[in-house]
Amino acid sequence: MKKFKGVQGIAASLLLVSVVTACGSNSSNGEAGGSSPSASEASGGSGSASASGKEVKITLLNSKGEIQTQLEDAVKAFHEDNPNITLEIQTVPAGGSPFERASTLYASGNPPTMIMLDTGDVEKFKDRILDLSGEKWMADTVPNATDLTTYDGKNYAFPLAIEGYGFIYNKAVLDQAVGGSFDPSAITTTTALENLFKQIEASGKKALVISPMDWSLGAHYLPLAYAGQSKDSAEVDKFVESLKAGTADLANNKVFNGLMDTFDVMMKYNLDQKDPLSGVYERGPEVLGKGEVGIWFMGNWAWPQISGFDTAGGQYGFLPVPISNNPDDYGNQEISSAVSKRIVLDKEKSSPEQQEAAKKFLNWIVYEQKGQDFLVNKANIIPAFKNITLPAADPLGKSIQDYIARGKSEPSMSLLPADHWSKVGASMQKYLAKQGDRASLAKEIEEYWKSVK
């Protein structure tokens, strides 16, 4: 009997506790599901705030770690112009993806007002973010800047930065190698590139360093094979579709083979040939900046790191990655670039006042002199807006801008599946370490695409 009572007691307490927790989860569900109670709550809150001078507090989740301090300075400048708006910058922890962080914040019911996302992630958040089609800056974007974030005719994201990648060269090293002033426009074929590598080696330096990170190989290098298929983006889409359907024959694809021929040449002259997978990102800017190598495959975001080691007096630029020996083939003169970071505005938990304040911040970046100065001069970003005429502040950004201005730009693959860089990057690493041949690489990539849903 006594024992029975004990069980009863435990059961009763369990019941009580479960009732308590059920209440807890109910109320949170209510908040997440119906936006009306939270909205009324929020507007009530701002109503009382309006009495004390319309203070609005908004947040921005920054996923471009390299501009954190610049962004914080910009926030101070913005606050001076708009004293009633307080903007707070949150960060994505190192190594985490913006998508992960943003989805966690949404799951906890505490999303930031503005989120900086990669292009491919925007669509997932479509139901939770604000339609920005009516904004003033829509009329001033560079062509096609918002195409990829437009669904059903509505644009959901603010294009923050254009980024491009290719072979970064150190002009001091290359000048010495060619004996005179190096002309980047001469390198448009794989053979010309190999000759350049030979010339650099002859001058006593190493030709290039391949950074073996999966994201560099999987998200930047290999996608050149997709993007280089055709100048016509519809053809590129068709090629990706055929990969998904399993009908594409990568092993006999001209662009893929051309790109991998170039990769073979790169491997042959790689500084880290003996131990190709041991390199880390930080090694690239160091050896390039110090002039130990002439060339590094990377993008313009690497400038802050390169400038720390710069010995070439700030003389750097981009070379395209050649995919054949015909200089006129698409991709041999073009640099891959695209809008890579987008800011979206939350509509689920943010009050109308907060949304307005966030929109104001975006306009401030595009139209105010201080905002433009932050974007171009402080953060070294290539803006995606026609009205910003400030020239890029760093040599890499300048080089990309120059290619774009001459129409020599190839749109980067921005909508690859989320795990593409990791899976295909691993296959590329295997190839780089000579643990697999080209046929098996092609097969692994085809297998990956077939598994994509």
Partner: protein, 294 residues
């Protein structure tokens, strides 16, 4: 007296003491666990506002996911070597450090310290050692096996993980063994030595059987920790080179958050839970049978 109090009073006392823990346990363990199981039957991608029920399809997907079973096999291999080495080395350390060595408490503290360092930091420290320090020593002293980074070779990267894990946990298990060794009654050892038992015989016939309870605890702990390893795996090799050292926890995480296949990832996590629970329970059940009374 106590029996005379009403049911409410007794319930109140119980809730006072167990309530907070129960509440925490329910809210952070049981509810998410149940919700997680529910999610295995959906096609949720981690962010969408809606999801649909898909029945058992995710579980079918788990059994078709060859990479999952491959990394599970790799994890088994890792667990086997790690558990054997952790417990072997920990026991030897504990045995050596209960012999009355000069300064043995300093050594005990020293061996325990790695366990106080978090897995992520530890991984980064060893990453530096494996890819920089050892390579430097190897090239300077011309030792071929250290000439290239261990982390860039699939087999050596695997052994690097085992080494770091053993280094991390051996000190912790050593402490448990030391406690066990101290509790071996002195009188039976004395009796044994009067009967003429020497060191090895004493160890094998007297000490080891009496240490079985300690072994149950240490093997259980090391099994469970090695199966669930993620932090060292992430910071030391990131699953590389080319995904050759991706253990099963990491695969599950990537499935759910990188491939954004939350349902399948969650189903894999649940299958992993069942497998690990089965293995550890079997281990406890069988080793319990080895226990003896002094």
């Amino acid at each position: 007296m106590i029996a005379e109090k009403g049911a409410w009073n007794r319930l109140r006392t119980r809730l006072l003491f167990t309530g907070p823990t129960l509440l925490a346990f329910l809210t952070v363990m049981i509810v998410p666990f149940a919700y997680g199981i529910y999610l295995t039957f959906t096609n949720w991608d981690g962010i969408a506002t809606t999801h649909t029920l898909v029945g058992w399809r995710n579980y079918g997907e788990v059994f078709r996911d060859r990479v999952f079973w491959k990394s599970f096999g790799l994890t088994l291999k890792y667990v086997l070597f790690s558990v054997v080495l952790i417990n072997g080395i920990a026991f030897l350390l504990a045995y050596a450090l209960t012999r009355g060595l000069r300064g043995q408490s300093v050594f005990r503290a020293g061996f325990f310290v790695p366990n106080l360092v978090g897995g992520i930091v530890l991984g980064f420290i060893w990453q530096f050692i494996f890819s920089k320090v050892l390579v430097y020593v190897g090239t300077k002293a011309d030792i071929p096996i250290l000439g290239a980074s261990w982390l860039a070779d699939p087999d050596k990267a695997f052994w690097s993980l085992v080494i770091v894990t053993v280094w991390q946990y051996a000190g912790y298990m050593m402490v448990i063994f030391i406690a066990g060794l101290m509790n071996v009654p002195g009188d039976i050892l004395e009796a044994a030595s009067i009967d003429g038992a020497r060191g090895w015989t004493t160890l094998r016939k007297m000490i080891l059987p009496l240490m079985v309870p300690s072994f149950i605890v240490t093997i259980f702990l090391s099994l469970q920790r090695c199966f669930m390893v993620y932090d060292v795996n992430l910071s030391l090799t990131k699953g590389g080179p080319f995904k050759s050292t991706e253990f099963v926890s990491m695969h599950v995480y990537e499935k759910a958050f990188l491939s954004r296949d939350y349902g399948v990832g969650q189903a894999e996590a649940f299958v992993l839970f069942l497998l690990v629970a089965a293995i550890t329970l079997l281990q406890v059940y069988f080793s319990k049978k080895l226990e003896v009374e002094a």
